[in-house]
């Protein structure tokens, strides 16, 4: 079964799993061992902390540009933005990255909570260039830093406020059962399966409540083990067709990737 990994950080300076400097060929060889035919590169997003300035954003995105330019057959990039920098800075950075073929989305991390008013700037960029927004999300039930962390309720609110913007709520295990229910009934909201340990039954629960069409396989490479993150989907009692959608079809369709 072919797989697209929608949540990867092949350039990740905190961990040198693939050697220094990061060897793309080794990342690709690793992916192919797991039938991953394409990876979405989200950038080394915490390299400069939670709230990178414009120059730091450019440096992080330049790394993604290098990856996408080197192997466009294997990597698609997402533009890393910081909503707090305002409309002009975010629009300019998006235009700069989109001048390079191979960018198809926006990545947001923990610069701010996703219910923050500054999110309108990112929504405008997404709307202007027809890009989905992948928002780091994690339940704040036990992690109390809601200034930076986006609870699934916050990411769902962003999706509700912007029904014409496609939103990927990252980290199924992190958002948990409550997070899945927050996402229910929002046709523009998707959940990726990256992050956390392979907690039992969450995949089935997500498929039951938001539909298998809205679940995207992601690993969070290099923080997580691909075999484990894939195995947790194959382990479910879902149909082969639903597993194929999660592992490949949904992301291919959402990002309009032609990987034949």
């Amino acid at each position: 079964m072919r797989i697209i990994d929608v949540h990867t950080h092949p350039v990740f300076r905190g961990l040198s799993l693939f050697g220094k400097p990061t060897s793309l060929n080794r990342v690709i060889a690793h992916g192919r061992r797991h039938n991953i035919v394409h990876m979405i590169v989200l950038g080394d997003v915490l390299l400069y902390g939670a709230t990178p300035n414009a120059e730091q954003l450019r440096k992080i995105n330049n790394d993604t540009i290098r990856v996408v330019k080197a192997r466009p057959d294997y990597f698609t990039g997402f533009i890393y933005l910081n909503p707090l920098l305002g409309e002009r800075a975010n629009m300019a950075e998006a235009e700069r990255c989109l001048a390079v073929p191979g960018f198809r989305g926006i990545k947001l991390e923990i610069a701010n909570n996703s219910s923050h008013p500054a999110m309108r700037h990112v929504a405008k960029v997404a709307r202007t260039f027809n890009l989905p927004v992948l928002q780091h999300s994690w339940s704040t039930t036990n992690i109390k830093d809601r200034q930076h962390q986006s609870d699934p309720a916050d990411t769902a609110l962003f999706a509700r406020r912007n029904p014409d913007v496609k939103v990927i709520m990252a980290h199924l295990t992190g958002i948990g059962f409550r997070g899945v229910l927050e996402a229910k009934g929002l046709p523009n909201l998707y959940i990726d399966t990256s992050g956390g340990y392979p907690e039992e039954y969450l995949i089935e629960f997500a498929a039951e409540h938001i539909g298998a069409d809205h679940v995207l396989y992601g690993s969070d490479l290099p923080i997580r083990e691909n075999s484990c993150t894939i195995g947790r989907i194959l382990d479910t009692k879902l149909s082969a067709a639903d597993k194929q959608k999660m592992l490949f079809g949904n992301t291919a369709r959402l990002l309009n990737l032609n990987l034949n």
Binding site: L15, T173, P198, Y201, R224
Partner: protein, 252 residues
């Protein structure tokens, strides 16, 4: 590849809708991921005031199911721990017992464990120390129990240099902290994760001290089995981690 899973549980979990399987259902579930033998405890023992009620359920559940080996839970902080141990030995055969210091509210480094350690050594049993059952970030909001601190594991290993124990539910980072100081512990891999985790771990930790563990049913069985099956490590190391170490350690 032969697989022995050293971290499997029966029973329901109060905070997530994981399957509450019978012995035969559990055996079939494990077999679907290639696991033919497993060391099984009962999750009910985690929350009961005294673990024998659920240990008895465990013995009954696995009695006629080939491949499921009971690992009863002992609470050495209770006054009757010798009775718990004696009853489990009589109900056996057993190869190991498991303890949950964090859920049962005692320190792994406590001196009162000395007599318990001597007793299980006399009985020829191995000890499995459960460090955690869940990612602390995702626990039920009212359950404020953290994993067993590394400091306690450190103190325990220092106090028991002649006992080789298996840490279950341990993070890779915790192994990294203990490994330079101690050789008297092994670890199972259910909560060890980064990309290429076994390849990375084997650079600093010997394969002969790692064992397959899945933390079924709280974590995905196949997810954790595939961590080993798909690992880019020598076949000999896979065999050790998959079954040989457990077979030797538990005398299976």
């Amino acid at each position: 590849m032969q697989l022995i899973d050293t971290n499997v549980n029966l029973g329901p979990w109060p905070f997530t809708p994981v399957p509450d399987r019978t012995g035969p259902e559990l055996a079939a579930h494990l077999a679907a991921s290639g696991v033919r033998r497993a060391l099984v405890s009962h999750l009910g023992a985690v929350f009961q005031p005294e673990p024998m009620v659920t240990n008895r359920k465990l013995f009954a559940a696995v009695k006629k199911t080939a491949g499921l080996l009971p690992v009863p839970v002992i609470n050495p902080a209770l006054a009757n721990w010798r009775e718990q141990l004696a009853e489990c030995l009589a109900a056996g055969p057993i190869r190991a017992v498991k303890i949950f210091p964090n859920y049962h509210n005692y320190s792994l480094g406590a001196r009162k464990l000395d007599a318990f350690m001597a007793a299980i050594a006399d009985a020829g049993l191995r000890l499995i120390v459960n460090v955690r059952l869940e990612d602390e970030r995702h626990k039920y909001f009212a359950l404020r129990i953290k994993g067993v601190p590394v400091k306690q594991m450190d103190a325990f290993l220092a106090r028991n240099p002649k006992h080789h124990v298996l840490f279950s539910g341990i993070y890779k980072g915790e192994i990294d902290k203990l490994a330079p100081k101690y050789k008297n512990f092994s670890a199972e891999i259910a909560f060890c994760e980064i990309t290429n985790v076994l390849e990375v771990m084997l650079r600093t930790f010997p394969a002969r001290r790692l064992m397959l563990g899945t933390c079924t049913p709280l974590l995905s069985t196949r997810g954790n089995v595939d961590k080993l099956r798909c690992a880019h490590i020598p076949a000999g190391a896979k065999a050790l981690i998959g079954a040989d170490n457990a077979r030797r350690f538990f005398k299976l």
